[in-house]
């Protein structure tokens, strides 16, 4: 059962319990979202835990997580609802003689023949729900409009059935990798949260939480290396998840301290472009 958060600190502690280390901004916005019943738009570089936040909040509140993965070409039959044509046809054919046309007509456009898709499912559910609309920047601008009604009014209008209003207000998270500018209309309806790379201390905490076997020394050292690498001008900076991968790699290698050679050998876990790897290796070993 969901528990309403009492304070920002409460959110923060709660998230810590489910192994998500939030900073003040993240905890504050999640708290607000719940208090105000507004969706949260999370933006930030890839791999900084945007999707994970929604998952962790769901875990924390004990709500069901409903996920809508966005992609180009997503339409309302995939996002909102669809009529189950086959079943409708069967119904019409099943007993032709007995029913009058009107009855059949009313009958085939009822709940029974409606296929709910994630958005409709989220608001028609009776139990508490966390709705995650992932990578919303991938849909076209026109498709964004699909989301507006549900985001501001928590309702879906179906011409044949009328308007379905939410039985409970779901907690909605939208994530975006910022590949395009989202429309004003969408932004206006959301609380905005920008999740950036964490600072050294928080990242160290994250590493130590997620990779518990790691020694504090190693965690400290590797997060500092990651920070130095992020300051370079790279095609793709290492994300938090890549830092974690790296930490696991180093742990597997049985190291409790990294030197230059180790770093060079394992840099490919952290960076995914050859030019980036070469640059980082050079920067880390050459002192001016």
């Amino acid at each position: 059962m969901t528990t309403a958060f009492a304070s920002v600190q409460d959110v923060r502690n709660g998230l810590r319990q489910v192994n998500y280390l939030a900073d003040d901004g993240i905890a504050g916005v999640v708290y607000l979202a719940q208090k105000l019943g507004k969706p949260v738009l999370i933006e930030g570089p890839a791999g900084t835990g945007k999707t994970q936040l929604a998952k962790s909040v769901a875990e924390l509140t004990g709500a069901r997580l409903i996920r809508l993965q966005c992609y180009e070409g997503l339409d309302e039959s995939k996002a909102l609802y669809e009529w189950n044509y086959k079943k409708q046809l069967l119904r019409i054919q099943a007993d032709k003689s007995s029913d009058s046309w009107n009855e059949v007509h009313d009958d085939i456009f009822s709940d029974e023949f409606l296929l709910t898709r994630p958005l409709l499912e989220a608001i028609s559910s009776t139990e508490p729900v966390v709705l995650l609309i992932d990578e919303v920047d991938r849909v076209e601008v026109e498709t964004e409009a699909l989301l507006l009604e549900i985001l501001s009014e928590y309702q879906v209008s179906i011409p044949e059935l009328g308007t379905i209003t939410a039985k409970q207000i779901p907690l909605v998270f939208l994530t975006s990798n910022n590949t395009r500018e989202l429309s004003e209309a969408l932004k206006r309806r959301c609380l905005y949260l920008h999740v950036d790379y964490p600072d050294v201390d928080r990242e160290k905490q994250i590493v130590m939480t997620k990779v518990p076997d790691i020694g504090e020394n190693l965690a400290d050292q590797l997060t500092r290396i990651v920070r130095s690498i992020r300051q370079l001008d790279l095609k793709k900076s290492p994300s938090v998840s890549e830092t974690l991968d790296w930490a696991r790699t180093l742990l597997l290698l049985g190291l409790d301290h990294v030197d230059e050679q180790n770093v060079k050998d394992t840099l490919h876990v952290l960076l995914k472009y050859q030019t980036d790897i070469a640059k980082a290796a050079k920067e880390l070993s050459v002192d001016e």
């Binding site: 304070s7 901004g25 738009l41 609380l191 920008h194 950036d196």
Partner: protein, 478 residues
Amino acid sequence: MNGLLELISGFVAELRRAGLPVSLTENLDALEAVKVVPVEDREAFKYALGATLVKDAAHWQVFETIFEVYFSLRGDEYNIVQDGAQTEFWRDEQDRAGQDDQPGRGAGGGMDGLSQEELAKLLMRALMTGDQAMMRALAKQSVSRHAGMEPGRPVGGTYYLYRTLRNLDLDNMLQSLMDADGATDRQSMEERLMRDEYQSRIEQFKQEVEAEIRRRLVADRGAEAMAKTLRKPLPEDVEFMHATRDEMQGLKKALGPLTRKLAAKLARKRRNRRRGPLDFRSTVRHSLSYGGVPAEPKFRFPRPAKPDLMVVADISGSVAAFARFTLMLVYAIQGQFSKVRSFVFIDGIDEVTRFFKGNEDIQDAIQKVNTEADVIWVDGHSDYGHAFETFWERYGRDITPKTTVLLLGDARNNYHAAQSWVVREMRKKARHVYWLNPEPTSYWNTGDSIVGEYGVHTDGVFECRNLRQLEGFVEKLA
């Protein structure tokens, strides 16, 4: 509650003046939001306002500064809702600034008695251990000692900042920190890490000093006036020609996401333009199945032409930054063009396409352009006439009807011969010739600027003072 309402209204008005698009609903949301967070919790209060009012990460910095001016100066103990206390508080702060000796929070008790050297030592120790409270206290102390602030003096904050930092000599501080740490004997990677660590602490200290100065200025002049002097343009509105070093960094950062968005937008635009021109033959053929009625018009497949681009850029001092950004932008979305060739000139001209070929790192290529390109002919002062003439001789025959030529520069020709016939000839051969000028329109054709003389032969001269205008132009081009 009224006091708070007024304060937030003023705050929102200031955000709008700084160029942030805050709508009415967002304003109302903010008021809703601050109702549910405890006002004593300043961080939560800030994020509540931020989440409702700022919808773009690039605007966050502006928001933070304005927030600090309006709300943060009140200290932890100060309760925002208390009406009237505001003025009293300001007087209080003013006194403090006048007397210069409120002890810093926590650690900095009797710092006034310390000598310059002792203070420096203290700062060094604080930086080494990363002692936050100590750093804050020292920032306070340094400002009262070195900035020489006088109430009511109409000087910008940067002046005080400069004075304070000059006295602290932070550049050498980094080196002495490294020496004291013995880091130079260590492995080079370790050293590098230590350097970054200290660098970030010094940076933090600088910000602390800046914040302290701002706090005092606000106490002296009031939030409204202060916000005005602090108003900084958003990254996309920063002028290329007058950007400071920090602003340049901001611009560079903004360029990455911008090009990604631009490329996605262009690709989408190209794909979505479904309909080509009417295919007459096909329409008639299909009309046969409708008894000769052309009921179903058929269209040709669109063949969007990718322009073939030639960028000719002036890279002399005044416009170098502009040329750099344009080249970066063009190369970042070069997939949208069938071919890109670039040339740079001052008074001589050189093709620099080779630096970008096979080099994935655009920054590195730009660096090479700046250092290795052969662009000096006589004296290294812009000579558009000679550069264009040489361009025409060497590369003129490569211009085809598919080519779009971009000429970048302020056309300040140092009173050399214009040779504008080159541009006229170019236009005859090329598909389009455009001129991008980083100067404001009102400066065109004043002094030695002869952009008009070239302009009449082009398909258009565009003002490109900032990233926003540049982006707009490139979007139209591709």
